[in-house]
């Protein structure tokens, strides 16, 4: 029975609001389910391509001259399946998130389109199809990043992202066009067959250009700056898709073009990949450990993980170019495992951050806190993601990192100075990223979710709706599988490895059973057994703690010890900035923070202070030291070139005639 309420200027009449709410609900459900359904399709298609026969499809009429060719092998199938799995979780999550955040119709429509474009990229079988799918993916992601375009920061982040994406695309375009011209065809199969005849100079050019273009998409240094700008401003399901699925496309491009099609490369290819990977990993995790914006922290963590994956790829390439194919297979398996684990825990982390953002409106860790009591489910989910990101045992990322370290330390270094120098440095880099990664994740989880709320918005938080929790639970289940039962991935990894003969694919990789055994090397690990043993040990410790139980007085809940004061205000807690301040001091030569302290005195007396304002800014040093000079140089050059455009029509006609003459001469 409805009661007639008077119309007020601020509250719309209930009878007008209900159908709109129902419509929004229906639209969100539709968008989310289509995304999830596309994800299921992707997983099915990808797995069938990995375990079954590769699939070919040619649609001649879709594009003039070359047509559209789809060619899904085990490698492409792996990435399609990974993207699909991420999309399922994100799709279910988006049902609730879109309603909570009142998404307009356009982002709801673009979300499944974005997923579809991402599924097309690994399936592309020719240069043209690849570039087409790549641009579709980039355009869809740009539109989604600009979902909240009424905010100025979103617009500037979107512009930055657009420029960098197109610069990367230009590099990829150039590389693939050169490759296609040298390889004698448009289809990847044709190029791969003819790759023996490509000259060394062309291969180098293609390698460097693809490293630039695909590396930028994957978030590697120095072209990573779009990641920490675009991810915080994009809606959280989109950030999850971008970080957990789209950056994988950069890695896919590197593997497909440089490792699979161009075949075994010289030593310096592997070395270059390792150098860029290690730099990205260390820089990314360092920035993450001092970031106070939750999503910026997660974005830099993506740079770190993609750096580790690239390091593993580089190690595999370098080792196989020296003939150590078994160890190269181990490194490649580690890279694939790291990609999957990263997809799982990064999805979960961004979905958790989105849940927090939807509940509090805050991304700033300095203002969050106390969410463990108000949002217990989200806290558990984010805790699982943080554990996975930190690379500790029982986390999703542990097995991949373990395998990577094992492959690095078992490289054959006798009589090989290059390996003997690079492998210890790489192990040092990986170990350093693990240490700093722990700091970053402890900060994100401890400051953001534990203790007491640092602001009124955090205090008013309430738990996320069921669909959001369901999406997160799916990602958490994947994290759990990677943490304790990576044996489930054994067959998948074996098949994909077999499709990469140039990085040791013919050799047996590590055996992934109940124990992970290394082939031909004494080394084994069992994450499942560690988990069980740890649970037993913790129970034993709890039992030790119960000794003397009968002598104890009754338990009590008491106020915090405030050093004698009556109570502690929430402002007395450590914030994320203060937590990371010692680390920032240690690395301040790299981070170059800008601090500004402003002291306001009372008008009556210069000796009494009324207010002190402290401002600190941690900009991306690569942006400041590399991009700004480059952009300045390009702008100066552009101003100089403007002199050739005075506005005279006669001059422009002369330019046109000259251009036509040059074209005629060249094409003779």
């Amino acid at each position: 029975m409805t009661t007639a309420l008077p119309d007020s200027p601020t509250v719309p009449a209930l009878d007008k609001a209900l159908p709109a709410a129902r419509r929004a609900h229906a639209q969100a459900v539709a968008s989310g389910s289509v995304t999830a359904a596309l994800g299921v399709l992707g997983v099915a298609l990808g797995l069938s391509a990995v375990f079954g026969a590769p699939r070919h499809l040619r649609i001649g009429w879709l594009l003039p001259l070359v047509g559209v060719i789809f060619d899904l092998g085990p490698l492409g199938g792996f990435f399609v399946a990974a993207t699909g799995a991420v999309s399922i979780a994100v799709g279910i999550y988006a049902v609730g998130y879109a309603q909570r955040e009142h998404w307009a119709r356009f982002p709801l429509v673009m979300l499944p389109l974005f997923v579809a474009a991402m599924l097309l990229v690994p399936a592309a079988g020719s240069v043209t199809t690849f570039l087409l799918a790549w641009e579709l993916m980039a355009a869809a992601s740009l539109v989604l990043v600009l979902s909240e375009h009424h905010r100025a920061q979103v617009r500037s982040a979107g512009a930055f992202y657009a420029v960098m994406t197109q610069l990367g695309f230009a590099a990829i375009l150039l590389a693939l066009v050169v490759l296609s011209a040298a390889g004698g065809g448009d289809a990847f199969a044709t190029i791969a067959a003819g790759s023996g005849g490509i000259s060394g100079g062309t291969r180098t050019a293609v390698f460097l250009l693809t490293l630039m273009g695909f590396g930028s998409k994957a978030g590697l240094l120095p072209l990573h700056a779009w990641l920490p700008r675009a991810h915080p401003e994009a809606p959280s399901p989109v950030s999850a898709l971008m970080s957990a699925a789209m950056v994988n496309m950069g890695i896919y491009g590197l593997i497909r073009i440089d490792l699979q099609i161009l075949g075994p490369g010289p030593h310096w290819w592997g070395l270059t990949l390792m150098v860029f990977g290690a730099l990205s990993a260390v820089f990314g995790v360092l920035q993450a450990s001092v970031a106070t914006d939750l999503k910026r922290l997660l974005a830099y963590s993506t740079t770190e993980n993609m750096g580790l994956v690239t390091l593993a790829l580089g190690a595999a390439t370098l080792l196989s170019s020296y003939g150590a194919r078994q160890v190269a297979a181990m490194a490649m398996t580690a890279a694939l495992l790291l990609i999957l684990a990263h997809a799982a825990f990064k999805t979960l982390a961004f979905l958790g951050a989105g849940s927090v953002l939807a509940a509090t409106g805050l991304r700033d860790l300095d203002k969050l806190g106390g969410l463990a009591r108000r949002m217990p489910g989200t806290t558990v989910m984010f805790g699982i993601a943080a554990l996975g990101a930190s690379g500790l045992p029982l986390g999703a990322g542990f097995v991949g990192e373990w395998l990577l370290l094992q492959s690095l330390i078992h490289s054959p270094h006798e009589n090989n100075t290059l390996l003997a120098l690079t492998m210890p440095l790489s192990v040092g880099a990986v170990a350093l990223t693990t240490g700093l990664g722990i700091a970053a994740m402890v900060k994100a989880f401890g400051v953001g979710f534990l203790a007491r709320p640092r602001s009124a918005a955090a205090q008013a938080a309430r738990e996320a709706p069921t669909s959001m929790m369901a999406g997160m639970a799916l990602a958490a289940a994947a994290c759990g599988v990677f943490a304790v039962a990576p044996a489930a991935l054994g067959p998948l990894l074996k098949q994909v490895l077999a499709a990469l003969p140039t990085v040791g694919g013919n050799e047996a990789g590590p055996a992934l059973g109940a124990y992970l055994r290394l082939p031909g090397i004494p080394g084994s690990m069992s994450p499942g057994l560690i988990a069980v043993a740890l649970v037993v040990a913790v129970l034993l410790a709890l039992g030790l703690g119960r000794w003397g139980l009968r002598h104890r007085p009754a338990a009590a809940v008491v106020p915090l010890w405030a050093c004698g004061a009556d109570s502690l205000s929430s402002k007395m807690q450590y914030t994320a900035t203060s937590f990371a301040e010692p680390l920032q001091r240690v690395f301040d030569n790299v981070l170059k923070p800008e601090t500004d302290v402003e002291v306001t005195h009372f008008a009556e007396s210069q000796y009494l202070v009324e207010k002190v304002t402290y401002r600190t800014l941690l900009a991306d040093p690569v942006e400041q030291r590399l991009y700004t000079p480059v952009v300045g140089a390009v702008t100066a050059w552009a101003h100089w070139v403007r002199r050739a455009h005075p506005g005279s029509v006669h001059l422009y006609l002369a330019y046109g005639a000259l251009g036509l003459l040059i074209v005629l001469v060249i094409t003779r």
């Binding site: 010890w561 405030a562 004698g564 009556d566």
Partner: protein, 159 residues
């Protein structure tokens, strides 16, 4: 490295221990030989603090009888309070005692803590420690010597 020679030369400087006095207060929790105390200065002139410091240093070494000063009242079995209770320290003293887990003891050191001493009727004074919280052991003196402090501690630790 002349320190090693010096350590050898100086040797043991701790005073020999007397016989254990009778236990007047049962050790908290019934485990003898372990007493951790949180020191609270409720308004003292610091004379008793110097003597307590002396009691825990190398010459008197209260630690060999199981007593120790700890930083947090949560880690402590009780308070060792000095000084008369001033108005400003009244509530903090109560808060500190509340933060100590049961079972707990309170030891009042010095005349000021026992009965107000020289400051008994001051305008900023609430009273002696015994007026504010229940006291288990009193050590009179202005200030009491470290030997007296240790004798009193031993009546609690039983060692």
């Amino acid at each position: 490295m002349s320190w090693i020679a010096k350590i050898g030369r100086v040797g043991r400087i701790v005073e020999p221990a007397d016989d254990a006095p009778a236990t007047t207060v049962a050790p908290p929790t019934g485990v003898g030989g372990s007493l951790q105390l949180r020191h609270v200065d409720a308004g003292s002139c610091n004379g008793c603090e110097l003597e307590i410091t002396g009691a825990f240093c190398s010459v008197y070494d209260a630690e060999r009888f199981g007593a120790r000063i700890v930083a947090s009242p949560r880690h402590a079995d009780g308070l060792i309070a000095t000084g008369v209770v001033t108005r400003n320290m009244h509530q903090p003293l109560l808060n500190t005692l509340k933060a100590v887990p049961e079972p707990r003891v309170v030891i009042a050191v010095g005349d000021c803590a026992c009965n107000g001493g020289a400051f008994a009727r001051g305008y900023g004074v609430v009273g002696s420690v015994a007026d504010v919280i229940p006291v288990d052991v009193e050590i009179p003196g202005c200030p009491p010597t470290p030997a007296q402090i240790i004798a009193a501690l031993r009546t609690v630790t039983g060692r």
